[in-house]
Structure formats: C-alpha cells, structure tokens
C-alpha cells in the first residue's frame, strides 16, 4: 500500500503534462462515449455487457468500451485532423492486480497525414516530457534509458534464428519444438508466433523498446507494409511491460469490414457475444486520410513504470481487488 497522497499527486502531474503536450502540438481533446452499442470486436476481449432502457421501455443491447477507437475514428472521418482523449475503458475476464485491472485509464491519440514512424517519435517525446514532470531522483535510471526501435523480424532472427519473411506454420512449429515450447496441434500461425515471442523474445526486452512491423496475421487494424508481409503496427515495452499499441491505421472500409467479419466469426467460435458491426464507423472511414496514425497507451502502466511500481494496485486509488 502506497500513500494515497503520492498516487493522487503523481497522477495529476501526469494528466496535466499529457494535456499540455498535446495542446502545444495542436491536438484537440475530445470526449468519447463509454456506453456504446458496438464495443471492440477483438476476439480475445470480453466487454462488459448491459442493456440500455429508455423511459418508454424500449431496450437496446449495449456494452462498455474496451477502447475509444471507434468513436475516435468517426471524429477523424468528420474532418478532425489531430485529436486525443483520456478515458476509462473496461475489460472483463481480467486478472485483478499485477498488470491488469478491469477498469483502467487510456490515452488515445490520432493524427491524419502521418504514419506509425512519426507516432513512435511522438510517443517517445511524450514520455520524456511526462518523465521530466515526475521529478523523483529515485527513478533516474528509468529516465536515462534511451529508446530503441526493433523490427519484429530482426528480433526473430536474433533470438529464434528464423526469418519471418518466409516463416510458415511448419517452420514456426519446428522452432517451438527445438526450443522446448509447449504447443497444441490446432495452433495457428499467430498462436505459434506468439508462443515464441512470449517465451524467447519478450523476456529479453529490457530498457525502452519499440517493437514494430508485426506479421500480417497480427496486423490487427493496421495498414500493411509495402511488401504486404507485415502490419504497420508497434508496441512499446518499457522494462518489459507492454505500454502501448500504435498503428498506421487501416482506412479501407472494405478491408475493415472483412476483418470485422473474421473477428465476429472468431468470437462465435470462442462462444463470445457477437456485437453488431458499427456501420457508422465504416461509412466514415473512407473520409479518413492515408496515412493516419493512432496510438493507445495505458496511463496506469505508464504511472507504474515512471514511479518504479510493479503492481497496478499501487498507482490507482480504488483497485478492483479492494472493490469486489
């Protein structure tokens, strides 16, 4: 248990410095809804589901957002060029404590006309500023660590000795076997890739590392690289903790619809609720310029990293473990 005064003070400094960073760069702060009809579609996420009832008794299926992404992209489609939001997001089926809490604070920002490389630079500058604001000599070591950028393909060459450019399912499977990594017969390319990453690469990500260019089966909502093999996606690891996930955003509404449908299918197979496709988002997507970057950053995790904490419970005032 940390003194609550410290937590409050640190968080206020963080939020203030985040806002002044974006204000000084011409971003607009926007408010986005938390209660929506279509929350995130990602197959591995479980939104909190509820029912919205009007006074006349008409009911609507609803859920709490897992990220403000859809609303943010609609605003881009309405012509806003640079926007950010700080909001609460919700994910069910999470561990209480450690790196997770079912309700957490997220910073998301988008810029039209710039790609994920620009976004990585901006992320680094943002974190440098927030670090500077939280002045605590105890954390000098974290402050002075330089940021590195590492392509996923290079990490696989270094630690696993396989080339992701032409690694098929069998090669990934053999690599798992030769490193003694547990697999199952129905593992997909994506599963095998991630098993290797979790076991052999993630533990080696010390310092501040941007890992970028994910294989296309892990492209998520990112645009593909020019050779079509990777998604222009990055994650930032600080001291081994995953802090944010950014993309050059996919702006093709047909490709987006296809990915939504695939995800709906995966949700169905996993026995999860299939949320309706957000048609308003798809209709506004063509108005978003290419390239446009977006990044989602966990504020609580940044708070942990910058103050040397290892448990999310130590940077939030009312962690789930004390509420439930």
């Amino acid at each position: 248990m940390r003194p609550i005064g410290n937590i409050i003070h640190e968080r206020q400094m963080m939020n203030d410095s985040i806002r002044s960073f974006f204000n000084s760069r011409g971003y607009l702060e926007v408010e986005t809804p938390i209660l929506v009809q279509s929350p995130g579609m990602e197959p591995n996420l479980s939104p909190f589901e509820t029912i919205v009832r009007e006074s006349n008794g008409i009911e609507h299926r609803a859920a709490l957002i897992t990220s403000p992404e859809y609303s943010m992209k609609k605003l881009l489609g309405h012509g806003l060029e640079k926007i950010f939001t700080i909001t609460k997001v919700f994910r069910n089926d999470e561990t209480f404590g450690g790196n997770h809490n079912p309700e957490f604070s997220m910073l998301e920002w988008y810029q039209q006309g710039a790609d994920y490389q620009v976004c990585m630079e901006e992320t680094e500058e943002l974190i440098e500023l927030v670090k500077f604001e939280i002045r605590n000599p105890k954390y000098e070591e974290i402050r002075n660590t330089k940021f590195e950028k590492k392509r996923m393909r290079d990490l696989f060459l270094q630690y696993i000795k396989i080339d992701l450019d032409n690694a098929d399912c069998k090669m990934l499977f053999d690599a798992c076997a030769s490193h003694g990594i547990h697999t199952t017969s129905n593992d997909t390319e994506s599963d095998l890739f991630y098993r290797l990453f979790l076991t052999k690469i993630e533990p080696n990500l010390s310092g501040n590392v941007f890992v970028y260019d994910y294989p296309k089966y892990q492209a998520s909502l990112s645009r593909l690289t020019s050779d079509g093999k990777y998604g222009e996606r990055f994650e930032l690891y600080m001291n081994g903790l995953e802090l944010c996930n950014g993309f050059t955003e996919l702006t093709d509404e047909n490709e987006q619809r296809k990915r939504f449908e695939e995800e709906a299918q995966e949700r169905k197979q996993a026995g999860k609720t299939i949320h309706p496709i957000d048609e308003e988002l798809l209709s506004l997507l063509p108005s978003v310029r290419t390239p446009t970057f977006g990044n989602a950053l966990g504020i609580d995790r940044l708070h942990m990293i910058l103050t040397g904490q290892t448990k999310i419970e130590d940077v939030i005032l009312f962690p789930a473990s004390s509420l439930f």
Binding site: M1, E42, E94, H182, T188, L198, T199, Q218, A219, A270
Partner: protein, 187 residues
C-alpha cells in the same frame, strides 16, 4: 477437461502423465490473436521449474488434488511440518516447495496443504493473515495529518512490514500473503 483460465496457484496440471504444480500464473491478452495464460510450474517428481504458456482455448487435465486444512507446527531445518487438527496426522513439506509462504508462517496458522495420493506437495495460505505488532516506533507528531504515512513494524512472527502511522505496538493487523502488504487494522 479444464480451461487454462481456471488455473490458480496450487493447481496441479497433468501434462503427458507428468504432474506440474502451478506456482505463478498471469493472463496475457495480446493486441491481436489468442489470449494466453503464462505460468510457472514445478514438476512434482523432478522439482524442475519451467515457464509454460497455455492458449486460453486449450483444454488441460487438472489432477485431482485435495486441499487439507492443517495447522503449522514447526520448522526443522529444511522441513516444515503441519498437522491435521482432527486426525493429528502430520505432514512435512520441503522448503523449496513452499518458498513463497515461509515469511508468513506462524505457529498455529491454518493453511491448505495440497495433497496428492497421500503426499503433501505444497501449501497455500489464506489470502489475509492476522498478526500482532510487537514493535513499531510511535507516530511522529504532525505525520498523522497527511493521512497515509507509512512506517516499519515488526510482527509476532518476525516479519517486517510497512504500516500506516496510526498503528501502535500491540495492534492486530491483517497482512496480504500474496503481496506482503498491510491491508487493515483488526479491532
């Protein structure tokens, strides 16, 4: 068959006939793709510790283990002995099999001993355990105004923890045995 999502500390997983005791677990949800459960497991036979990651969609065989309520009696070098209060049966567990729990032990503490085919594998402690404070400095005047100032306290089993400044010698406190942290004062 069971889901990796149901894994807890103390779960025993049967993988190809070998039994593994889970000593650590954490769910991992990547930005894309399946979610995973990251575990550290100890082979019950060989003692080998291994990190294994399970996809949430996998099905696993959990070995049927019993959790027996027993009282901690004493420690004799490398062995920690517990007793069943109704049958007076005693079992001993090796230090290496219960490393995380050792700082929280105190005589008479009730814990769940993980039993498998008559053999004691490990022990899981209650999440919160009550101790009394044998020593702590009195609060410095003025410190209490700001609320949560922490200071060191020594507990009846020798464990040292950080407690709020309003705690005085002789107070009873609850300590979280997962994190080693003070949770509340018992009145």
């Amino acid at each position: 068959m069971s889901s990796p999502n149901d894994i807890k500390k103390g779960t025993v997983v049967n993988i190809n006939g070998e039994l593994w005791l889970v000593t650590y677990f954490q769910r991992v949800s990547p930005g894309k793709g399946s979610s995973f459960v990251r575990t550290k497991m100890k082979n019950i036979k060989t003692g080998k510790v291994q990190e294994t990651n399970f996809k949430s969609a996998e099905s696993l065989t959990f070995e049927d283990v019993q959790y027996k309520k027993m009282q901690y009696l004493y420690n004799d070098g490398n062995l920690y002995t517990f007793m069943d209060n109704t049958t007076y049966e005693q079992v001993s567990i090796a230090k290496a099999d219960m490393e995380d729990s050792i700082p929280y032990l105190k005589e008479g503490l009730e814990a769940n001993v993980v039993m498998h085919e008559g053999q004691a594998l490990s022990v899981t402690l209650p999440q919160k355990v009550e101790y009394f404070v044998v020593y702590t400095e009195p609060a410095v005047k003025g410190d209490t105004a700001s609320g949560n100032v922490l200071k060191e306290a020594e507990l009846d089993n020798g464990l040292k923890v950080r407690v709020p400044s309003f705690i005085t010698q002789g107070d009873h406190v609850l300590i979280n045995t997962d994190t080693g942290e003070y949770t509340e004062r018992v009145n």
